[in-house]
Amino acid sequence: MSMAAMLLLTVSFTNAQEKEKMSHEHGDMKMDHSTMKMNKVNNPKAEAVLADYFMLKDALVGDDSKKAAQAGTKLMASLKAFEITSYNKEDQKELADIIEDATEQAEHISESPIAHQREHFKQLSIDITDMVAITGTKNTLYEQFCSMADNGEGAYWLSLSKEIQNPYLGKAMPTCGEVKSIINIP
């Protein structure tokens, strides 16, 4: 009995550590121990959203606007299929807001030229990062940043690999950027 309690405490402690790492736009994150979220969870619907996000990201890295548009359409579908009912009320509201906005971004991406797709990808990346903060993910993710993106205002994106492949500048400057934080440190 107490072993399980110890284990839970350890996991929730590392959970708290992980969440400290995600700095931007997460100022209002509260640790709600009544819901005891594990980090390396497998929420298949969240993973489906992430998979489509990464497909989109890779398309932008390769300057492939058509592929990016297709990924945008796929992402709209996986966002629609996402279920929020297993989360607490506060998280449900936040997730609903995230999905609503992310869907709009994905829709724009599915029908725009590449410059616009990249503009919307910036906001989409914020939405998906905020989603992962609530749902957790089974993989290690790298939050990366390029200060030259978006006309010098800078922009973030999520990546499955530590290696920098820039979706905002594409082939013009593929390695511009740095890792800012890691989700699920390996």
Binding site: D97, I98, E100, D101, E104, E119, Q123
Partner: protein, 150 residues
């Protein structure tokens, strides 16, 4: 020569015919509580510009000039208004979540910066809706402030 006369006649009939096709009128007397300019403290100059350059397509109340009542002009307008309101409706501003407001503001800033809004087809006819460089700067600055405050 006869063929020209026939073509002209057909065109005339079509032109008169399409005048009878009904169009949806985007007009509303009230300014809802959720309106952008009621909810935010908007400086006078920006307010004016928003009204003249943006609100026709991005609100529930369009100012219809005489030529917009003639087809096919009315159709084009109707289409613009429908799409515009779907994208962004300033009258419904406060119904958007904070996240969405921020997103919309980013889009507004980008669209004005890139000269994509107001539409050139719109400013061609509504000369006063065109934004000068200064007006663009002012509007962008205000939108940026608002975005950062959310």
């Amino acid at each position: 020569m006869k063929i020209v006369k026939i073509i002209v006649l057909v065109l005339l009939v079509v032109f008169v015919g399409i005048q009878f096709v009904p169009t949806v009128h985007n007009q509303s007397e009230r300014t809802p509580k959720a309106d952008f300019m009621l909810v935010n403290d908007v400086p006078k100059d920006v307010k004016n510009k928003l009204q003249i350059s943006c609100y026709d397509c991005h609100s529930n109340n369009t100012q219809y000039p005489w030529y917009s009542k003639i087809q096919p002009g009315a159709w084009f307008m109707e289409n613009h208004i429908k799409n515009g309101k779907e994208e962004l409706n300033f009258n419904e501003w406060d119904t958007y979540s904070n996240r969405r407001k921020k997103s919309k503001l980013k889009s507004i800033i980008n669209q004005i910066k890139d000269d994509e809004m107001p539409l050139s087809s719109y400013t061609l006819i509504h000369r006063d809706a065109k934004l000068s460089e200064n007006e663009k700067k002012e509007m962008i600055q205000f939108m940026k402030q608002l975005r950062d405050s959310l």
